[in-house]
Symmetry: C4
Subunit: 236 residues, 4 copies
């Protein structure tokens, strides 16, 4: 049973997750239904995610299915996005995150398909990602034949071992596409939009200069910390 | 004479084919009138296709000319698309298909012009095409001087010998452009849109990694069969 | 003095030239005012052209200045496009053309800047251009210091010596951008739009296949002659 | 205290700077808030700049903060763009300029990230930039750890030593993005839009022809001086 305070929080989360799903469409990251955003209510460990294959223009907040962080269905009549198990794994392993976004945005996906991390070539990157956006190893046949969607999440968290996932809130799944996260669903969607622009500029940069070494650690730190952490000076 | 039940089915087919023609325009695949969609009524072996050179904004369902699968004119006062003979050949040879779409969408056309099949570089591809999107051999001078449009269709079906055309519902005609199909005109148009996105990402991928080997057979199978066949788990 | 029958023809020509100028803007070929279209009344040898530096949104048909084919000012208070002398030279040397369009559309301009002709890589090209779109030699210092704008036209007509300008209705001026023509201002604008798409696909094609040989002469002829000449079968 | 004649000039300047900020958004140069435009009232040495992190759709002219050319806050409750010190340095060192624009527009930024100047490959470039658009040296660790934003401006003015900044009104900051200027905020924004188009065409050109030598000095001079200086013949 969902008590009413949970229900109010859930309603709000559903609206936030719906907004994040619509945002990645409006920003041109999504062809047809190739993308999904989710969010978590950490107080109750409940995850809201886009349903599978429902056209965006018909999505209503109350359509979004709800699951416990361990994958038990709680509410909503639609089937969840087929990527649910990846999202849930990220929420379990990255306790600081509140939203996850997955898209097949074209430039970030191209880097994932090429099996290459996106180097930190400039300050746009450094403002959001404190180092290269990493790429997973290709999944083995066993991982693909087994719990494939869960194993996709495991491939991501494996490369973040010992690293702060909020310092570099994105990963490329080799041969697949990016997963992006943030403190909220809104921030995850925002980071996914920036990732696509960063991926596009990195594609152009490496075409112009195959040997480009990217920004120095000093510049990476300067830009990252002016937007993040205790000494941030950005915005109002 | 067209009996009234056929007529009702034809009316519906004409509206579906019109919608598919407008869809490929709305999705940005068509410059001026460089594209055409058709559909078949299998019960009566009647094919509806876009007329030649009529501006899309003026197209009405009843303008769409109707032919038998063998090319006999049945209804409609406009001349058919100049690619009619290719469409008809595909309907005769691929009995499972219900719609055909031809465009000069720019990235898919570039692969066709380069004479290269589009490798299966990622899961977006694998969700729709169970292996590379093949490219035909260049047509010989005899094929070009003879029944060129029919021979274009024959070049396509030749490379599908022994293969399921619905498992990889597209082909690139060398030096020309893609032909795409599906169970319905709507699905053919949808597949044409996805092909262009896949072609764009493949262009970026191979630029980033000339030696990219693409997805494993296991990943290709996993993604393809979760959307197709008896064990499909996708959508609602 | 302009007699009234000339005046009526001029009014119509001005509207056609205005429409061609607006068309290349609507099709995305023009940044700010970097483009111009003109047309000629062959009966009276009068040329109408876009004025220099007037914002498109304020252009009225009656604003378009009128010149004789030899460059004498006839009507209109605005200064003509700074490329007038190139247009006039093309009208004098290519008696079959009725409209000229010049843009800095980005892909065609890139080929011009690279000093490369656009090879006939596919049937989209062959439907409009019966062979490569040629590029001029770079202008010499003398040509630049002298009557530069006229010399730009001479560089174009020099490479069409002995060729039919309507069979390949475009040229790239090295280090500059394309000039495109047609039987009417409308057709010139249409050809400029197709040229940009062809240039974009050729860029992608050569990136995918540096050694691409392009279409055979047989395919070039087949596509060209089905849209042009006495045996054309295209359209209604 | 701001006397009323200053106030009227400031009001006008604020509207001009707001318009320039909105212009670079409307022209597609700005993702989220990654860009800023400023302007200077030379009579009073007052600089107006975009506030930091305020969404464009909410910006009002009176929100724009005002500073003396030496960085003393004069008016406006919002914090200035974090790039203020770069803008102020440019105004101090380039006395002929009246507006500065900074964006992360994708092609110009790619050249900056690649550490390459944009060569003068064609006449579009020559109409606006009288030679290559230069790129700074990478900032040293000391410059980054010190007054980073000011040092960014110093890196720019260092490469303009002995050159006329209005003859080539833009620079690429290595590993960062372009700064562009002009006689007014409007002209700076216009130049930033042209720079992005020039950067895009230069990317395509060098991909088509790695050895491209660009336009001759004669062509560079011809195009530049027909739009600039005492003998300009362009426009009405």
């Amino acid at each position: 049973m969902i008590v009413s305070s949970t229900s109010t929080a859930l309603d709000r989360l559903r609206r936030e997750v719906l907004a994040a799903n619509l945002d990645i469409v409006a920003r041109g990251l999504v062809l047809y239904t190739f993308g999904n955003a989710s969010g978590i209510d950490r107080a109750n460990n409940l995850v809201v995610i886009k349903p599978s294959g429902v056209p965006y223009e018909k999505l209503q907040a109350e359509d979004l299915p709800v699951f416990t962080i361990d994958g038990k269905h709680v509410d909503g009549e639609f089937k969840p996005s087929s990527d649910l198990a990846t999202h849930l794994h990220l929420y379990r392993e990255f306790p600081g995150i509140g939203g996850v976004v997955h898209t097949h945005s074209e430039y970030a996906t191209a880097w994932a398909q090429a099996g290459r991390a996106i180097p930190a070539y400039g300050t746009t990157h450094a403002d959001y990602f404190h180092g290269p956006v990493p790429v997973t190893a290709p999944l083995s046949d066993e991982e693909i034949e087994g719990e494939y969607v869960l194993n996709t999440g495991i491939a991501i968290t494996r490369i973040f071992s010992g690293r702060d996932p909020l310092a570099t809130p994105a990963a490329l799944v080799a041969g697949h596409a990016p997963f992006v996260w943030g403190r909220t669903p809104h921030e995850a969607a925002h980071n996914a939009v920036v990732l696509e622009s960063v991926a596009r500029m990195a594609f152009l940069t490496v075409t112009l200069n195959q040997a480009c070494e990217g920004v120095s650690q000093g510049l990476l730190d300067r830009h990252y910390f002016r937007k993040h952490g205790a000494k941030a000076t950005y915005g109002q």
